[in-house]
């Protein structure tokens, strides 16, 4: 192969590298930074006083952390098995209701939640393991939700 051909191939490789840096480089880092900083923002909500309201003395109640609701009826999860997504290091909050006595198994984390018929049972635990984990009814293995813990 001639020297010119070799240089041409190297030039193409360099061009691809430059295009990759332009297209993927800065944008992805911004997105990454935004993602990384978001959990801290969420845990430390900016305390805003309610604007335009006269009674500014009472500080606003801290927002109640939302529990992800799972409802298990007639042997099926209501609305289908959905994805529950949290960032690694956050707290997983589940509120489970079942129309029959059931043990809910969260795979990987190996947690079990005992639910009595008609009652809501809550579970809280830190999301330390990354990946997609099945949340299932232990009696028959019905998939209730997928717990997605992202880095």
């Amino acid at each position: 192969m001639s020297r010119g051909q070799r240089l041409a191939f190297l030039a193409v490789a360099a061009a691809i590298a430059i295009v990759a840096v332009v297209v993927l480089g800065p944008g992805s880092e911004e997105a990454d930074d935004a993602r990384r900083s978001s959990p801290t923002e969420r845990t430390q909500p900016t305390s805003q006083s309610p604007r335009g309201s006269g009674r500014a003395e009472r500080p606003p109640a801290p927002p109640k952390p939302a529990y992800e609701a799972i409802r298990f009826e007639d042997g099926k999860p209501v609305g289908g098995a959905r994805d529950i997504t949290v960032q690694s290091g956050e707290t997983v909050r589940l509120a489970v209701r079942s129309d029959r006595a059931e043990e809910i198994h969260i795979h990987g984390y190996d947690r079990y939640v005992d639910v009595e018929p008609g009652k809501v049972e809550r579970a809280r635990f830190p999301a330390r393991l990354e990946g997609v984990f099945e949340v299932e009814a232990h009696s028959d293995g019905t998939l209730l939700a997928n717990l997605r813990v992202e880095p």
Binding site: A20, L24, G27
Partner: protein, 476 residues
């Protein structure tokens, strides 16, 4: 009776659950997160950059072709290849096979509680691949069927008072086809069969396969059948050719890594199909976790149901169609690239070229397997230790390790992503290296060798992009 009812109920539920994107393996209950779009982009860009730098650096003389084997120094080569070592390894292999059949047949039928599924689908099928790549054809030493066949042959020849000869000559045109069929059957059991990971079915499959292998060895002789017809020998031997270690006669020696692939005989019929089954099988496994397959499978299942099939059977046949389709696509993509390479001249037929470059698909097949099953091996592989203490899943603790649980924290998602993408890039480079080396041997004119590489490069970029894309689609 009650257990049958529970199993029936469980399989009906499993079949119903398949309509939604389900986790790929019955083992575990954990799946991978898809690689993020930016990493997919970077992975693809790096593959292209590496490819063009590779083209610029194409060498004029073959580097890997030719023999470089040398026995291990200090008598280690002779010790490792000695008969006592072979007998001990073979006995361990036979014992493990018996353990799998016994625990699968007699044990707890919950997949994760029984040794058989984890042993067969993780320790045997997945873990032996990296072991082969690093240490060479370890499986040939532990192969239970080969060990049993040789033992029976030894006893029979002692009894007869003369060396035994096989009743039939292994037909040339059979080539590697029995191994292709065997691997396809195993892949089908793993990925398409409804209760393929049910311990009892794993035991049954192991028994049936042992029987067929016994017949093959009895008809054509142990070495002939093991070398070409026995699916797992062929499969692990393929990957062991990447390793720097090789056993010859009664000695273990060293050679240049990858160079074992150049002596892989591509003239045997069924060689390209073999690689298509491996790559296609993993592709289907990956695709079945993604949106594309989730979009196809309901329509396909409904179609088979409308033909009068039960729900479970319809799901199974839909998966079979998907598996065969993926294998066909892999085969087609490779043949397309080779047909392109034929146009540069040299007077070769497409079939001849397809065989000549088949060995360059081995690193691609390896990284498909490695990237896809990385976390299955790291996580579910841990279950092997406690399961050894309680193979039947009945609460025994033979070795005092039964309490061990899988630690899903040993590796984070980010480390998994980088490892997967790095593996795919490395496999791509290895495949290109092998293809160019072969082209230099094949073509008289170096100019043709270089031009044929544009086509093969396109094929490799295609396979590598598919591998990256599958990772970005998994459970997205």
């Amino acid at each position: 009776m009650r257990r049958t009812a529970t199993l029936l109920a469980a399989s009906v539920i499993a079949a119903a659950a398949l309509a939604e994107p389900a986790l790929a393996h019955g083992l575990g209950g954990r799946a991978d997160l898809p690689i993020p779009a930016w990493l997919f982009g970077w992975g693809a860009a790096i593959v292209l950059i590496v490819s063009f730098v590779g083209l610029a650096a194409l060498w004029p003389e073959p580097k890997l072709e030719g023999d470089s084997w040398r026995t291990l120094p200090g008598g280690a080569g002779r010790a490792l290849g000695s008969r006592p070592v072979e007998i001990v390894c073979g006995a361990i292999g036979v014992a493990l096979l018996l353990l799998v059949v016994w625990s699968g047949a007699a044990g707890n039928q919950l997949t994760t509680d029984n040794l058989a599924p984890t042993f067969v689908f993780v320790v045997f099928w997945v873990a032996l691949v990296p072991v082969s790549v690093v240490f060479g054809d370890v499986f040939s030493a532990f192969n239970p069927w080969r060990a049993a066949g040789r033992a029976v042959g030894w006893v029979a020849s002692k009894a007869a008072g003369e060396p035994l000869t096989a009743p039939l000559r292994y037909p040339e045109r059979l080539g590697r086809w029995p191994a292709v069929v065997g691997l396809l059957a195993f892949t089908w059991l793993e990925l398409a069969a409804q209760d393929g990971d049910l311990p009892r079915n794993v035991a049954l499959a192991a028994l049936v396969y042992s029987l067929l292998t016994g017949v093959g060895m009895a008809l054509y002789g142990v070495e002939a059948w093991i070398g070409r017809g026995e699916a797992f020998s062929v499969y692990f031997n393929l990957f062991s050719r990447i390793s720097p270690f090789e056993r010859r006669e009664r000695e273990v020696g060293l050679r240049r890594p990858l160079s074992g692939l150049t002596s892989f005989d591509p003239s045997l019929p069924g060689t390209v199909a073999l690689l298509a089954v491996v790559i296609g099988g993993v592709s289907f496994d990956g695709a079945s976790e993604g949106a594309l397959w989730a979009g196809i499978v309901p329509g396909l299942t409904d179609f088979f149901e409308s033909l009068g099939l039960a729900r479970g059977a319809a799901v199974e046949i839909a998966s079979t169609v998907g598996l065969l389709g993926a294998i066909g696509l892999v085969f087609g993509l490779y043949r397309l690239g080779v047909a392109g390479a034929r146009t540069v001249g040299g007077g070769f037929t497409t079939a001849r070229l397809a065989r000549a470059f088949a060995h360059s698909l081995v690193p691609i097949a390896l990284v498909y397997v490695a990237a896809h099953y990385l976390t299955l091996l790291i996580f579910q592989g841990q279950a092997f230790i406690p399961l050894l203490s309680d193979p039947l899943g009945r609460g025994a603790d033979l070795l005092g390790t039964a309490g061990g649980a899988i630690d899903y924290g040993v590796i984070g998602a980010t480390a998994v992503w980088y490892t997967q993408v790095a593996l795919i890039v490395v496999g791509h480079v290895a495949a290109l290296t092998l293809a160019h080396d072969r082209a230099l041997v094949l073509y008289d004119q170096p100019e043709l060798a270089v031009r044929s590489q544009y086509w093969l490069l396109a094929v490799m970029v295609g396979f590598t992009s598919i591998a990256l894309w599958l990772l970005s689609q998994a459970n997205a």
